[in-house]
Symmetry: C2
Subunit: 448 residues, 2 copies
């Protein structure tokens, strides 16, 4: 099936800037041609507003959505918040998990996100035993959820073997995260890659320098390299992680990653908040992607990461909604710039186009899919969205990229096309209605 879309204004990717009168030809799930300065063909589907590539969410822990409106006003810090987060897991069945994930991925879709990298450390159900299936029950839960929501899932299973850098055993709350050994984890990853009913795309993750000892980090990095897989890791979100790492290994987490072969241009360092100059040089010099999650990093009191310095050193930027305190990639994008303004008392560290690049092209690189998503271009997946340029938030702007990044919210996303399917039209999902009600019920179920 072929469909012709037409947009008055669009941003196709970082090279072209804002273009006008754009015809996008789609055959099946793929864009076959993009023509600017065109006139609308008869029967063309006219997209309202400002069109751009579907947004790529480089970092999600989908079940954290159940914490929204429940933990945000707590005192304490990241570590006390983590106890609350673990408590959600205590009664969460795979079925409840899948329903929550479906509702949350639908919220993402409605906010313009067409691809999500799920950083997945739930190896099995609470109390369940290690799986021998090709696709674990928890993997199946998110794979099915993504299909229901119409979102492109990149499933990044994470290896999580120990509670801290001293190799302490996992707590009972953490047991379901573990495959028992790195070899068992990698064997499961091999099976998942070969599975017919696996995720649309897969990546692999090291939970953190806390969660895996250096030999496991090395083995996973080797596996990722051999399998040409994207590799993710939580890096230096907390000062305590750095201090613990230096105490145990005599080097920072970034240096430990460098020493174990983890860094590289298919690797994403999630957070990358507390870095010294050498860390920045290591990440940038290796082309490691920096996966910032600013609304989570402010919610969890992590701090403000050195986004500009990382970009200057050579690291592309990607963006994630992580704990889903908010799901709004425009808010993530502007927060990168606005947080650096707060830290430096200067404006203009990142242009709006650079920030939109992070939310699209940067995310695609982080997902390991630079050749397929993140741009509106021939040969790419037909993933694009429209943003209302005439809402109370956006009206009056001269630069639609700046209006999108600095003024729009998720409420301004009117249309979402994903692999050629118009998943959202006029702010409504094509299959799932009453999404708020679904979210409320799904959240209630995991707390029940």
């Amino acid at each position: 099936m072929t469909t012709t879309y037409f947009a008055d204004q669009a941003w196709l990717g970082p090279e072209d800037g804002t273009v006008h009168d754009v015809t996008i030809e789609v055959s099946g799930a793929t864009i076959t041609s993009v023509t600017t300065g065109s006139t609308p063909a008869e029967g063309a589907v006219k997209l309202p507003g400002f069109v751009m590539p579907g947004l790529v969410n480089c970092h999600s822990h989908v079940f954290h959505r159940a914490l929204r409106g429940r933990t945000h006003q707590g005192r304490g810090d990241f570590w006390s918040w983590r106890e609350q987060m673990y408590s959600v897991l205590s009664g969460m069945s795979a079925r409840a998990y899948s329903d929550l994930a479906a509702a949350t991925y639908t919220e993402m879709t409605l906010s313009g996100i067409t691809t999500v990298v799920e950083f997945h450390y739930l190896a099995r159900e609470r109390g369940g035993s290690a799986t021998s299936a090709d696709v674990s029950v928890m993997d199946r839960a998110v794979i099915d959820a993504a299909a229901r929501a119409g979102i492109h899932l990149v499933l990044a299973n994470a290896c999580y073997l120990q509670a801290d850098v001293h190799g302490s055993a996992l707590s009972s709350a953490q047991e379901q995260f573990s495959d028992g050994s790195v070899s068992a984890f990698l064997a499961r990853m091999d099976r998942l890659r070969g599975a017919e009913s696996g995720p649309e795309d897969a990546a692999v993750a090291i939970h953190s320098v806390r969660g895996c000892p250096p030999p496991a980090m090395r083995a996973i990095a080797k596996w990722a390299h051999e399998n040409d897989s994207a590799l993710h890791i939580h890096l230096s979100e907390q000062v305590k992680e750095n201090l613990d790492c230096i105490g145990a290994y005599g080097c920072t987490p970034a240096q430990l990653c460098a020493d174990t072969g983890v860094l590289g241009d298919k690797t994403t360092a999630i957070h990358a908040t507390h870095l010294d100059g050498d860390d920045i040089a290591l990440l940038g010099g290796s082309g490691t992607i920096a996966g910032f999650c600013p609304t989570t990093e402010r919610d969890l009191a992590d701090g403000i990461g050195p986004a500009r310095a990382l970009r200057d050193a050579g690291s592309p930027l990607a963006l994630g909604s992580d704990s889903h305190a908010i799901i709004d990639l425009f808010e993530e994008a502007r927060a990168v710039e606005l947080n650096e303004r707060l830290a430096t008392q200067k404006r203009g560290h990142h242009s709006a186009a650079e920030l939109l690049t992070a939310a699209t092209v940067g995310g695609a690189a982080s997902a390991g899919l630079s050749d397929r998503i993140g741009r509106v271009a021939a040969g790419y997946d037909a993933d694009f969205i429209a943003v209302d340029m005439n809402s109370t938030r956006t009206a009056g702007a001269t630069d639609p990229v700046a209006a999108t990044v600095f003024s729009a919210t998720n409420a301004d996303v009117t249309d979402v096309v994903r692999k050629g399917r118009r998943v959202v039209a006029n702010r409504r999902h094509d299959e799932l209605d009453e999404v708020g009600q679904r979210l409320a019920e799904a959240v209630q179920n995991v707390h029940a």
Copy 2:
């Protein structure tokens, strides 16, 4: 005319917390009774979602709305941004100003703001002469605009006499800000207070320690005290302002305010960003209200003010959207907490209820109207709003106050009752439709 409203859940003010099954009786513009644990009377208007007092915006420069989507990605700092802001004024007639203000106040109304303190330093039209009318043409522009939008205007005219602490003459871009002398300014304020066609309420303002010399500050403070008027001043938004003040007067702006009688519990220090311990003690000890504008302070790279320390010292907190980079008082409220998390790496400086108090009761104090607005209570203006607790943003929360402050956006405000008139129902303004289009045209007109 009497109307009975009913809400399943409401927050009436900081004393009561969240209450249920609330009947609000309204006669004309005033609440006559509030009853919790009630059953809906026949004919009661049922408000959906979570009901709370109308939000009070303690600081607005309404014409700055014309800069949104046009300057936010600029480089430079506050001072270079100010040049861009001045350039908007060059062609802005009173008529264009009024249309822009009406559209912007409508945007505020739709976002749940029922009262706005307009910090008004446009004494006359560009090129116009000082007015002898009771109500200046620029005052008339905003008074009419507020009536069109259905918002309660507290007009805080600002005295602005000089370009800097050295008493330099105003630049040509600044000339329209000045009444020429503090006595001419205060004579105009006297006439405005006596005018039949004046604003609904008035306050008075000293632009800043830059804009007024100490004798003028003293005269205005005396006038405010004698007239029992709320008094506003921009205070320590920029480090440069502090350095200039210390250079000229040998003391900080806060100390200069203390020395000239400006501080007190009817005074609001807008921004209060760069304060030392003595400044905080002066503001807190005098009960001076701290008027934070976090989304502007991040946009302009001002920095993070000491909100928690000010509150501990005795300063109530109020919130303003100021330059209108964003108009969303929920975002202002959460940013107070989240910015302090970024600065301290700790959570829990302000509870959600404390932040909602700032957006309502704190704003009412800043407006000088603590006995009339900011609460849902008998004898108060019938100003209240409803927030959707079942949107993708808010669904699943157990604490509606936390959901409102930490998760909701302006898109979740469904209903606004202002002085007994239901100005917004189901997210639509009762008189003005196509608000985005109105904003776009009004912004275009002031740039024409």
